[in-house]
Symmetry: D2
Subunit: 362 residues, 4 copies
């Protein structure tokens, strides 16, 4: 269960990696919003950046098909179902290793929980599942546009290489991000990371990474105390992405080393609006947005599937070696492609809170 995300702009997703289709039903989208299959396809393309070696690819593009909820390019207020059919994949490689517990992978826990596992691809635990999140986000973005909110996510760090990010201008940040083959807006850092990734691929290994996300032009009042604080729900959204292991808002773990007198964001009144001199809070106070830049990070573990052989056990509890074939396709660093999903989850979460906040006062 639990394949529905959000409380108002409800997104229910479905689909295994090697099943017939991946899709989403969006229920709770307001009526009269313009949306086309093209809008969705544009977002889906960002999941396969540059068709490069840093992200594994199926051969043809994912094409969205709107099955319901839209008439003459406008949302009807009824549930919107969009699917992407799964094509041109081979399950052969997966079936060969289906009886081995794959280290740090879903097959063990799924088998324990459900008593069976679709061994073709990673089933429901596949990265392909995130197609559905990106579909829903493409629709959510239309609502964010209406409110002038702009969002982005990018690679902040791989191993010890940290990107230096200039947050002053959204457009340049976006352009720089999209210009990098690994979605890292700091060109110098991007180059270094690419070299590291090249080395990692050559060594049949994988590597972790940190994604940062930001939302510009935030309104105040988004977030619902006590249990749906904006940061709590963002945390949940991000930690639901496969491979994520950590989440921070604002100064995050750094704040645990600071004193109140250093950390506190002091209020000032400037250009007819209330601002804070610093933004250690990352745009959230007491679980509610302040209108400062919303900013946080998500840590991703290295891709569990590597070409290096790994010792494990099989379904009969006997020692076994997991040796994946060269032909099997795995990203060397899931954080790169996950950055697109981080942005999607940010979009989905913000839209839900925009709608929820309509209910705070009559």
């Amino acid at each position: 269960m639990s394949n529905t995300f959000n409380k108002i702009f409800k997104v229910t997703t479905f689909g295994e990696s090697h099943g017939k289709a991946i899709g989403a039903v969006i229920d709770g989208c307001p009526s009269n919003i313009e949306i086309t299959e093209n809008d969705i396809n544009n977002e889906l393309k960002r999941r396969r950046p540059f068709n490069n070696k840093y992200t594994s690819q199926r051969e043809e593009e994912d094409k969205a098909k709107i099955l319901s909820g839209v008439y003459k390019n406008k949302t009807l207020g009824s549930p919107i179902c969009v699917i992407v059919e799964n094509k041109n994949f081979s399950s052969k490689e997966y079936l060969k290793t289906k009886d081995i517990l794959k280290p740090s992978h879903a097959n063990y826990t799924y088998m324990q929980k459900y008593g069976l596992f679709d061994p073709r691809g990673s089933s429901r635990a596949s990265g392909r599942e995130t197609i559905a999140r990106v579909i829903a986000s493409a629709i959510a973005k239309k609502i964010l546009d209406h409110y002038k909110i702009k969002t982005i996510a990018y690679i902040k760090q791989i191993k010890n290489i940290k990107a230096n990010i200039d947050h002053s201008d959204y457009s340049s940040l976006k352009e720089n991000t999209y210009n990098s083959p690994i979605y890292c807006p700091d060109i110098k850092a991007s180059k270094k990371m690419e070299s590291l990734l090249d080395k990692t691929i050559k060594e049949k290994d994988s590597i972790g990474g940190v994604v940062e996300f930001a939302a510009y032009n935030m309104p105040t009042s988004l977030g619902e105390p006590i249990y749906d604080k904006l940061d709590a729900r963002l945390g949940s959204a991000m930690l639901s992405i496969g491979g994520s292991k950590g989440f921070e808002i604002g100064k995050g773990f750094e704040s645990s080393k600071m004193r109140g007198s250093e950390y506190n964001d002091l209020y000032i009144f400037e250009n007819s609006r209330i601002k804070t001199k610093t933004n250690n809070s990352g745009g959230i106070l007491a679980g509610i947005s302040t209108s400062e830049l919303l900013i946080g990070t998500v840590a991703f573990k290295p891709t569990p599937s590597i070409l290096k052989p790994q010792k494990s056990i099989n379904l009969q509890n006997k020692s076994a070696v997991l040796a994946l074939d060269k032909s099997s396709k795995h990203d060397p660093c899931i954080a790169i492609r996950a950055s697109v999903v981080v942005e999607a989850m940010l979009n989905l979460t913000l839209v839900d809170f925009i709608l929820l906040n309509k209910l705070s006062a009559l």
Copy 2:
């Protein structure tokens, strides 16, 4: 809205810090579970450790009153309402500064969102709200006991002082934690932290900290893909605690610096059970528990209310200085007391997944 936590073992909490009472309604607790007011009071006592200088105190103890759902010390299957009356508090100090925006505090965002704020105490954003979480956790613990699951949370770090934790034995870890006036199980580190806190108090300041949590004797299969993964829900639970700014499961942010070949937890079969040689995953794979030790951390910012005067603005957008009176009571480090709440949220989350998992198969 959003004052209900969990999906099955549903906890709805209420109460402002200086209102008549703080309380919780637990709906979805199975019937025939033994519970007394004493059981709850014992947990509540842990929120006021040692009555020492490191945690601010109201004068008398918080006493739980069970209003419904329990008959002859057994749960009826009907909703359990428990309240703690608020007594012996003074709102005077708060009312003096009620027109000033308090840096990194709830009053600004609450006023923006709701158009008004109860200025006595911190209203619903007060730490006192967590009484309700501890109440519910006291009941949840009875169910965890039934399944032999044991949980704990403690101070892992304050500023740069890191505790060295031995996880091999639950009982000693618990004993050591409770023996420290700041709930830090590493005695040496605890002493150093206490000195740092003394200095911080003297300097009218506050400081952040990191809490670690762990669950022993975990079963497999807890967690509901895709959006209620165990780690996603734990993240949400922890980030809903006032002052938390970061969350990690297993190796967390450290994993972003690791390679797959280092990070992956290799399976072995030992003593008739499937285990992993390492536990970088922190006991969760693909959002589902593995039966290894469940472990993670939560970062807390420094207490926003400090005795040092702070520049701010008032409700008329004019400059103002927030100068809190010596008599006002604030913890120098919210992480200490928050550790009890972290454990409570862990307990509540685990119980929900234990119940949810009954539904995975017929």
Copy 3:
């Protein structure tokens, strides 16, 4: 579980009839709405009309105590907890018969489901539970007032005596209803029903009845297809009241005997608004309100507890006779007092849809 009603204006209720208190937590009430304990007490008084023989009474009044969510008589946007303490009741009579399965009463099914039953009063299945619904409705009414929506419920029928209702004017309908000791606005019918009730009481028996409800000044657009149609949710609301066995909207069962050409409500445009010539639909089309009078009925079975001895079995499956003592207090006709609860459930349901409808379009 399932003690929460509504999706936005969420009402969680608790309390057994002979426990310490009955109460409700309302989460999702917009901020800045005026409410006092008096407002609530006025509604509670209507559950004990005239202190007459037609409705059983505890000796003193139920007094509401607001524990949270309201500051200076305004809602804060945080959860509102209101309780009524249970006083002056005796459980003796109940304990005497606790080992007998009571015909058409809760004790058998509760024992089966939960493995135990609080034998004092009817526990959670008591009519006293509805106090919590009336509390929440008192707050909901403030929101309906804001939108000028006016609601009422009254006795439409007892046995074969049908009241003749004039719906043309809300105020007179309300006045007539409140003037009847049994809440029947047709004076003639009321008198006949009172005689029938006198006879029923004398014969140590009870009787069923039908309650009609209506909402005036309805806006269009309330109701959420497909599964939260206004009529579906009203049906659920009414059928959750103890003793209800049937529900109709508009012509209800009568419509099953009609032809389309008779039944269909034809549109006309009159006084600058779209109306229908008839209102067989009862103000709802395709699950959404039309702005015509919202009208429907609820059937109630006779009170199961009667003074006439009844054959039954005991917990050991042996024959037993249930002979209730004269001192035990039971309404001769639950429909009378239930009419107040029907109105409360109507109010709660409408408020939820008013809030939900804010989300239909941007």
Copy 4:
């Protein structure tokens, strides 16, 4: 919003009558349950009984396509998406009358609520939407089979012709129901109803009807007080079906005319089990199943679309006549086909409560 049904066995449906597809996502179905597209198609066939004049038909069969959640004919525990593509329909007739408010039809309220309406077919308010409910029910039935629960729904009454139903044996009741072209198990009554329908069709009119439903081999303990009582949820389920206007459980409205001493179902102990001598309660006490036959009725209004011309107004608020073309297809009595949907909703509701009841005790 609100296109999800149930709390555990969650069914989210989508699709407009003349859109690309109608479908359902079932989330919360336990794993390891056998299901094939054939199982679903068999249920879908029952929505087009006998291809006769009493139910309007599209030309070819509806074919289910399972997109996800099933591997080698077994449920995976992940969400199951099933669609039926819409084919061979013409929207011409609908588009001709799209600017006229159709009496007792969805187009007025949908336009009011959403600001637009897909004029092809009846969009989301079409009877075709119920395909999705039948799909989900086909899966639910597998779980009911596991628990030996057997369900049925049939025509109980059309106009004043009442069927005489023998409930003693499920198999014969089912056989008789399926043998009638209008799903009425009383052959004599069926013949009379058929004549009435013939006459109604000839007169370009439609007619209402009453459907009765029953569940055999019920366990005790299904139903969740206070707001998810079994009868409340059944009422909501049935009233969410297009055209339903009334609901009864057990004696329903008849019970409002009875005395307690007549109505009460007396307990007896027979053949090693607790039974009641009568079953006026219809198998539910205090919202929880008793294990007696679960029985109730649903009233349906006449089909709103009739070939007889009807006076109305158009979108410019001017008088207009709605004259539907002979080629337009409408059932003369929606109750007939709705009986299949009533059974589907019964199945879905029961499965949810079976799963929910796993949570009542540890």
